[in-house]
Symmetry: C7
Subunit: 95 residues, 7 copies
Amino acid sequence: MTIKPLGDRIVLKVIDDVQQTQGGIFIPDSAKEKPQKGEVVAVGPGKTMDSGEREPLDVKVGDKVLYAKYSGTDVKMDGVEYKILSVKDVLAIIE
Amino acid sequence: MTIKPLGDRIVLKVIDDVQQTQGGIFIPDSAKEKPQKGEVVAVGPGKTMDSGEREPLDVKVGDKVLYAKYSGTDVKMDGVEYKILSVKDVLAIIE
Amino acid sequence: MTIKPLGDRIVLKVIDDVQQTQGGIFIPDSAKEKPQKGEVVAVGPGKTMDSGEREPLDVKVGDKVLYAKYSGTDVKMDGVEYKILSVKDVLAIIE
Amino acid sequence: MTIKPLGDRIVLKVIDDVQQTQGGIFIPDSAKEKPQKGEVVAVGPGKTMDSGEREPLDVKVGDKVLYAKYSGTDVKMDGVEYKILSVKDVLAIIE
Amino acid sequence: MTIKPLGDRIVLKVIDDVQQTQGGIFIPDSAKEKPQKGEVVAVGPGKTMDSGEREPLDVKVGDKVLYAKYSGTDVKMDGVEYKILSVKDVLAIIE
Amino acid sequence: MTIKPLGDRIVLKVIDDVQQTQGGIFIPDSAKEKPQKGEVVAVGPGKTMDSGEREPLDVKVGDKVLYAKYSGTDVKMDGVEYKILSVKDVLAIIE
Amino acid sequence: MTIKPLGDRIVLKVIDDVQQTQGGIFIPDSAKEKPQKGEVVAVGPGKTMDSGEREPLDVKVGDKVLYAKYSGTDVKMDGVEYKILSVKDVLAIIE
């Protein structure tokens, strides 16, 4: 079973911050709204613009991204936690 | 009696999550706003864009979709529970 | 005396749900916001679009429609209850 | 002294519902937000659209209209009660 | 010292309602939001439209206007009370 | 050190109302939201319009302006109080 | 590990106000909403405009900027505090 997000939505596999310390330490500031990490596993076709064309998404499958903690909707599938959210809630790509 | 939704609305037959375990287990995260499943049984003509044309809908009859729990309006017809909602409240298509 | 609605408004004759059981049973879900039925008796000319043309309405006189319960404004004329509401508050046409 | 409304505003002479029973009885539903009747005595030039042209108003001087009760601003001039309101708050023309 | 309003703002000299009874009696309805009278003493250049041109203002210097009571900002200059407000808050021109 | 405001923002040097009585007395009405005076010391490039061009600002360096009291952000630099605010919060130019 | 911000977002290295006194003293007004300083370390590609092109950002890597205190999202990476925020929340560039 696969999830095909609609519009400008994407599907992320949530990355656990605790297992995150190899290859650059990423520690969000605990007193503020924390961003979280995820890996993009599916992207929507983009929103339809006034011209009738699709607005391209700035992320692609495989990208690791930071997103605001309370954005999007969580689903579990085959025991893995996914998140469906608008690409507008993605703050940055991490490389 | 059939329902023809207007604008960008669609009609869904609600799928009961409890009978949902064959062919990939789908378990929404209980602590968050839960998405729910439905099967598309009718789609509207799309909203009229500034150009005068209809904006195409990204779902078609027969699609199984995830949607936010509290979106749309519920109706019962011949004992079956349906939901009328905007296609913007559909998160993803499940295949 | 007749009512000519303005813009994208329509006038509905309210259909009583209790007399509604022949020809397909329509029972709205009582725990949610209930849609109601009405028959279209007049339609406005449509809103003026940026191009200066009128946006066409998706309903016509004689259509039976579902609409959200608390939308629109009620008027009584010659003892009959009518409702004036925007076509955007019409959920679907029933056939 | 005359009043020339600006933009999409119109000036109405308020019609008292009590003196309203000849020629078709109009009784607004008392439990809901009541519409009221008025006669159009002046209309504005219309709002300027993006094209620079004026958006035409759908009512003209002499029209009898229904409008939402709490819309607009009341003024008295030479002992007569008038109402200045946007044409968007006019629900329908009565004929 | 003169005031040049920006955008679609205008400057009004406030007219005291009490000295207002000659040449047509204007008595605002006391139970509702009262409009007030002023004389236009300066007008802005108009807002810049998407086309890059200025949207023309519907009032000119010398016009007597009705405006909503709590709109705009009051200033006193050389002992005279002025009001700076958007032309959108002007209800009508009185002649 | 200089401040270059972005978009449609400008930088004002705040003018103290108390030292303001020569050359025309300006006394804001104390019971209402008071406008305040400032001298423009820097202007931004203007917002980018849909056409890709910059929307021109209606004020220039050296203009004395009235602005709403609680708009903008205050900064002190070399002991002088400045205010960074959007040109939309400027009510008028004083000459 | 590097951060590539999306849309009109930028990444700032936060500059501590206390170590800020050489080369022009910058002291924000303590009773108001304080702006803060940061150095731009990465900029996004800009938002997609209706024309399909990217809206250019008004800041570049290396710029020192003032931004509103409570805007954006904080992250720590390799022990350095960064902030991801929209360029619209940048008030001015300091030179």
